[in-house]
Symmetry: C2
Subunit: 359 residues, 2 copies
């Protein structure tokens, strides 16, 4: 595995094999890359030399520089790496991205970092042919970094403002409208909203104005707009609808529900901006003996598989997650510049967590 040169050892290179076999390194390279053009006798000799010296084929590091293609795409997020394995939405998305990669033989590199400094470095030095950027919350910095690499990249779920970057997202306003209309048509008139972050690291009750004025997190803002536009159409005074912002985890969802159900007017319908929140809410409601959908209806957002097996199964606004992943991978690998921005349609999946408003 190593040659001895003046007392110190170093890994065997293709050139060492070539010398040992008495051929040029060009020929040695051909033995591995295009064996069919090398005369059999020579080929065997080179292979024998390789075997003897414990050489196990050309080092990808060297090949890479020459070839230029890594054959892997980077998936980046500003969350810790474990986000990819913890978050239900990320998992479904990654599963679909990985299927698309499997189909084309490309690998996946996970790029992230504990702190912001690391993150910049990691993105700058990632060995990938392109990036898929998860823009969860205020991912604009991430987009900026990825863009500086001057590699093909697409943003998933990007703030709809930035027209200049390639992005695959959904129509948050339309999706939210769907959810709100569904509940309103069931006769619900007292609503509450479980919102995603609209400003950094905040949770607690917020007002519509606060959400509107925060420039980041356009997903949160658009979903709220969609909800409220639709509710207004039904003559509901949206200024009276409580909005509670959570961190999309169990603890803050429960806190939100405690808050909401302590208000004088209990809601009969909850609009949750993620399935994760909706599922935690389902747990809380069951533990508090509030029947779903008997007393309270709830509609989630995302369409994660857990929603299909919850108790009760969750009505939700399903994103075409698999399609988004496929498109993203395609955009990177083909890099024909065809993709600029793409808003995919969402789908209201009606299950058992929503029903007529109680009389």
């Amino acid at each position: 595995m190593t040659v001895l040169t003046s007392g110190k050892t170093r890994p065997v290179r293709l050139a060492d094999i070539a010398k040992a076999a008495g051929v040029s390194h060009g020929t040695a390279s051909n033995v591995f890359a295009r064996p069919e053009i090398v005369r059999e006798e020579v080929r065997e000799r080179v292979k024998a030399a390789a075997e003897a010296m414990g050489y196990s084929g050309p080092d990808p590091k060297g090949r890479l520089l020459r070839a230029g293609k890594v054959n892997a795409i980077g998936v980046a997020t500003a969350e810790p790496l474990s986000y990819f394995f913890d978050d239900p939405f990320a998992r479904v998305m990654m599963a679909s991205i990985s299927q698309a990669c499997d189909a084309t033989g490309a690998g996946i590199s996970l790029v992230s970092a504990a702190n912001n400094e690391q993150l910049a470095w990691n993105i700058q030095s990632a060995l990938v042919d392109g990036f898929i950027v998860f823009c969860i919350e205020g991912g604009s910095r991430l987009v900026e970094l990825a863009r500086e690499r001057k590699l093909p990249f697409v943003a998933l779920d990007l703030d709809s403002e930035n027209e200049a970057v390639a992005a695959i997202g959904i129509d948050n306003i339309a999706g939210a409208s769907l959810a709100a209309r569904h509940l309103a048509e069931f006769g619900h008139r007292r609503f509450a909203v479980l919102a995603l972050e609209s400003a950094d690291a905040g949770f607690g009750p917020v007002t519509q104005e606060q959400v509107e004025t925060s420039s980041l997190y356009s997903g949160t803002r658009d979903r709220l707009r969609g909800y409220f536009a639709e509710l207004s159409r039904f003559g509901i005074d949206v200024s009276q609808v409580p909005i509670y912002e959570t961190l999309n985890d169990e603890e803050t969802v429960r806190a939100g529900l405690e808050h909401i159900f302590a208000l004088p007017q209990r809601p009969t319908a909850i609009l949750a901006m993620s399935d994760r929140m909706a599922l935690h809410a389902l747990d809380w409601l069951r533990q508090h003996d509030i029947a779903v959908p008997g007393d309270v209806s709830i509609v989630g957002f995302d369409g994660v598989p857990e929603g299909a097996v919850s108790k009760p199964p969750l009505t939700t606004v399903a994103q075409p997650i698999a399609e988004m992943g496929r498109l993203a991978v395609k955009a990177i690998l083909e890099n024909d510049g065809s993709l600029s921005r793409q808003l995919l349609p969402v789908d209201l999946v009606i299950r058992a967590s929503s029903g007529p408003a109680p009389a």
Copy 2:
């Protein structure tokens, strides 16, 4: 972003910047790699040139060859890539691996492939500093491939036979004993086993002999040995204990329970070789109004987080998954050759799914 040379364009290199700024390439390199040793005036000039030519920093491809370190570890499996995001055990393991990577700033490359040919190529050409190999089922081919790369690598959960490869695993026999003893001490005498695969693509009732004779899947075999050795110690005739092999999914677990509970002697205790199976079993039992642990006790294996929140919470043999991930990453990154084989201790976590045998 590109320079024009005799009619064709090519990406800007560091050398182009150096020339444009009138410095040597060595200095240009220092501007990016160790800016503090370059005089400010020069530094600014080079940076300006870079800016002007749209150069966004040294290409990692070039750096890699020189540095030799990719700063990423490969995680390989023979399953499709999406396994990493679908399987609960894999997910917990990946979460812990990614935490360890985050802590050291290393990236993660997922390596897998649809078919065997691809897999070989993907492993041979992966740009990584080492491999962590998931040896789920008969992963010996995978280990062989990884080994040929001559990079540091560790196998997770390897067949305990192969003494030559570095591996991190658990003592399956001891873990299984723990589970069996726990139930036996509760007075249980009628057992059933929900087993993992022991041969390819099979599910259904099997005998102890069948499991023993299958050479792959030593995990399944060892767990069964552990169960039965311990039960025998309590004077239980293990030849009468039904074993049902599942595919670790809901459907086959339910089929297994239908089968087991249709037998003349209903068990009062179930030993499940994975938490995933145990959790599906819990669902089935609840739906059939069989009280846990009133009528039937059940003990899982793995220690996935879902087991802590199931109803009832699952007694299980917890693997030190986080520790395994940490050790694996450490072994790769430090590569001090210190790790050869390591069997980590397992832990019986007693929760509410096990209790005294019914009178």
